[in-house]
């Protein structure tokens, strides 16, 4: 995990607009994008397709409850 990501309290949301033909395609692109960005635990929080593409909110969990949160052990926090 990168040093910057260690500072994330729990999750990173990516909010964007994807050019795609339908919601299914938008979902595939969303998860592919998260994979390419290095998020192992990704899910789609919101997706709505209309016209030229899909408005999406995709989430990559950095820490989930019960994990060992590195920010808790960081002395400068």
């Amino acid at each position: 995990m990168s040093k910057a990501l260690e500072k994330v309290m729990d999750a990173v949301d990516i909010e964007t607009f994807l050019i795609c033909d339908n919601e299914e395609e938008g979902k595939k692109i969303s998860l592919q994008m998260m994979k390419e960005l290095g998020f192992k635990d990704a899910s789609i929080v919101f997706i709505q397709h209309s016209g030229p593409g899909a408005r999406v909110r995709v989430r990559g969990y950095v820490y989930k409850p019960g994990d060992r949160y590195n920010w808790l052990f960081e002395k400068n926090n």
Partner: protein, 609 residues
């Protein structure tokens, strides 16, 4: 004026915009400084000339438009230097197009970006450090119940409730349950120091628990996906909180004195993540926090001990878990530990009281018709729990979540009012908790086909016409109106918050922008979204009222009428517990099913001595 009077030139280096400078001019004038405001669209040369002609001490430039901003400001500073003005005069720049880093890079003495206050600019002129005033730092803990005397305006309903509540007290007086007995043992366990005696009590406690909890006391094992937090983690938490203490400068959500107290709900599964979320919400202005326990915990006899985390929704109730959460709270934060359903209701209220919670949550009707607990069991347990709430001086809300199952509001309110009357008779301070939700009742009945205002308003109006008691809308407000879209979700929450405020209620519980998302844990950022939206809505409406249509009055009358008829039916039936089984407070057809957890566990008091 505590500072030397300054002569200040205010100049919009912009073709049109100068509203910010006008506001600052007023602040400087009020502070006793001499100001000269130039009109928009002056060139840098003209501004420099004006500054020299007036022999000013400070120049404040504003720039709203972003195009060529660096170039224009750079040339202004060059001119100021060339003219010899730069050495004698302090120059600040502000406006929508300005970032402090840019101002510093170009050589300005200060840069004020969007959101700069007039006070900040005045402090710059006076050469003193700006200290942001934080209303949040002076927050005080509020008691929602203090201004209410619980006088009944509707005497017919009062009489019916009194009969039912007396019947409940009579019904439970010679009965006990494993939940009540465990609470008694737990209290002894918390008070004694003798190891041998403690061991004996633990054995007695374990014997009253389900196997999954008994295994902890006999073998030290926990259920799957559950673990004790390590010493290293606990130490790290202490350090984290110690450092955080100095960084807390909380926001203040309320804009008027009539805006309600705002609660958030937490229960990530991990007390550390809960604390991290709570501190974030406190910083962003939440006034109170509500502890959510796991649903399996409510259907399991007995509590674990220790600092425990697990990987599912809802945070496990133990004395230790509650204690670390309590210790992390700001002194002004209200803290509620829910005990409205489940098999550990008395012990939950006992632990909440022992640890120092401010509020709890108890409702027999919801817990037994929508929460899965046997009606008789919860009735007996709830009376014991209410007695603990009274003993610890903890007001409790009576939530009406059975509405979400499909029970009509009037029936849910009848159940709520019964528990309210029971609470009053037992010396506690109940709080009414009507739901602000898009319930099955209104989906079918169409009361919200035009707007979300009227029926929610009708609920509050109906309750107000019955008795003088605090109202805390929940839980969360806007339930089933929010989608996974964070903007829609936050807006819906904020609008419901504004409606609640307009109706003059005392408290609200708000969701995060993740309310409708069920694919994973709620994120801290999603909590901030709705807090910020609520704050903005309070600012937008101020003292303005939202005016419901006449429908609200009609529906309020119907709700009161329905409550009365329901209570009459319960009185006629003669036994409250039996009325719950029979569906008088919510039937199977309406989606209310008497719970089965704990069925057959109520015993005559002599059973346990």
């Amino acid at each position: 004026m505590g500072f030397q009077k300054k002569k200040v030139l205010l100049a919009p280096l912009d073709p049109v915009h100068d509203i910010g400078l006008k506001m600052i001019k007023r602040g400087l004038d009020q502070a006793g400084h001499e100001t000269i405001l130039l009109p928009p669209d002056y060139s840098p040369e003209e501004i420099i000339k004006a500054a020299m002609d007036h022999n000013v001490d400070v120049i404040l430039i504003s720039r709203t438009l972003g195009y060529r901003v660096a170039e224009i400001l750079g040339s202004f500073i060059d001119l100021a230097e060339a003219s010899g003005l730069r050495e004698k005069v302090k120059i600040g720049i502000g406006g929508m197009a300005i970032r402090p880093e840019l101002a510093a890079e170009l050589g300005f003495d200060a840069g004020f970006g969007p959101g700069t206050t007039v006070e900040e600019a005045v402090a710059f002129v006076e050469g003193r450090e700006y200290v942001k005033e934080s209303k949040g730092k002076n927050k005080i803990k509020k008691d929602m119940t203090e201004k209410y005397d619980y006088t009944f305006k509707n005497k017919t309903i009062e009489k019916l409730l009194s009969t039912i509540a007396d019947g409940i007290i009579e019904y439970v007086k010679d009965k006990t349950t494993p939940g009540i007995e465990r609470a008694k043992i737990r209290e002894k366990m918390l008070e004694i120091n003798d190891e041998a005696e403690l061991l004996q009590l633990k054995k007695e406690y374990a014997n009253l628990c389900d196997d999954i909890v008994k295994a902890y006391y006999t073998k030290g094992t926990l259920k799957e996906k559950t673990r004790q937090l390590s010493r290293e983690e606990l130490e790290a938490l202490t350090t984290y909180l110690e450092r955080l203490k100095n960084k807390m400068n909380p926001e203040y959500l309320q804009y008027t004195e009539t805006n309600p107290i705002v609660f958030i709900q937490y229960g990530t599964g991990c007390p550390f993540m809960d604390i991290a979320h709570i501190k974030t919400c406190e910083a962003w202005g939440a006034d109170g926090v509500v502890h959510f326990d796991p649903s399996w915990g409510a259907r399991t006899e007995g509590f674990y001990e220790g600092y425990i985390t697990h990987e599912e929704d809802g945070s496990i109730i133990t004395y230790e878990n509650l204690k670390i959460i309590k210790e992390a709270l700001m002194p002004s934060s209200l803290w509620q530990v829910r005990a409205h359903r489940g098999l550990n209701t008395p012990e939950t209220v006992l632990l909440a009281g022992k640890v120092g919670a401010d509020l709890t949550k108890i409702n027999i009707a919801y817990g037994s018709l929508g929460g899965g607990t046997d009606p008789e069991r919860l009735t007996v347990d709830a009376v014991a729990a209410i007695k603990y709430a009274a003993r610890f001086g903890m007001p409790f809300d009576v939530v009406t979540n059975e509405e979400l199952c499909g029970v009509p509001a009037y029936k849910a309110f009848a159940g709520m009012l019964i528990v309210t009357m029971l609470g009053l008779k037992l010396g506690a301070r109940p709080i009414l908790q009507p739901l602000f939700c898009y319930s099955p009742e209104v989906m079918i009945g169409g009361q919200m086909s035009d707007n979300y205002v009227d029926f929610n308003a009708a609920k509050v109006m109906a309750l107000r016409s019955i008795l003088n008691a605090p109202i805390w809308c929940g839980a969360p407000i806007g339930f089933l109106t929010q989608t996974e879209d964070r903007v829609q979700s936050s807006l819906s929450t904020a609008l419901h918050a504004s409606l609640a405020s307009s109706l003059g209620v005392d408290g609200i519980s708000i969701a995060s922008a993740d309310e409708a998302y069920s694919g994973g844990p709620i994120s801290a950022a999603a909590r901030i979204d709705t807090l910020r939206a609520t704050q903005a809505a309070f600012r937008f409406f101020g003292h303005t009222q939202i005016v419901p249509t006449k429908n609200s009055e009609v529906w309020a009358s119907q709700i009161v009428e329905g409550i009365e008829k329901t209570l009459e039916a319960v009185v006629k039936n003669g036994n409250f517990v039996d009325a719950l089984y029979k569906g008088l407070l919510g039937s199977r057809e309406e989606g209310a099913y008497p719970g089965r957890a704990g069925r057959g566990t109520v015993k005559a008091y002599t059973f346990w001595g």
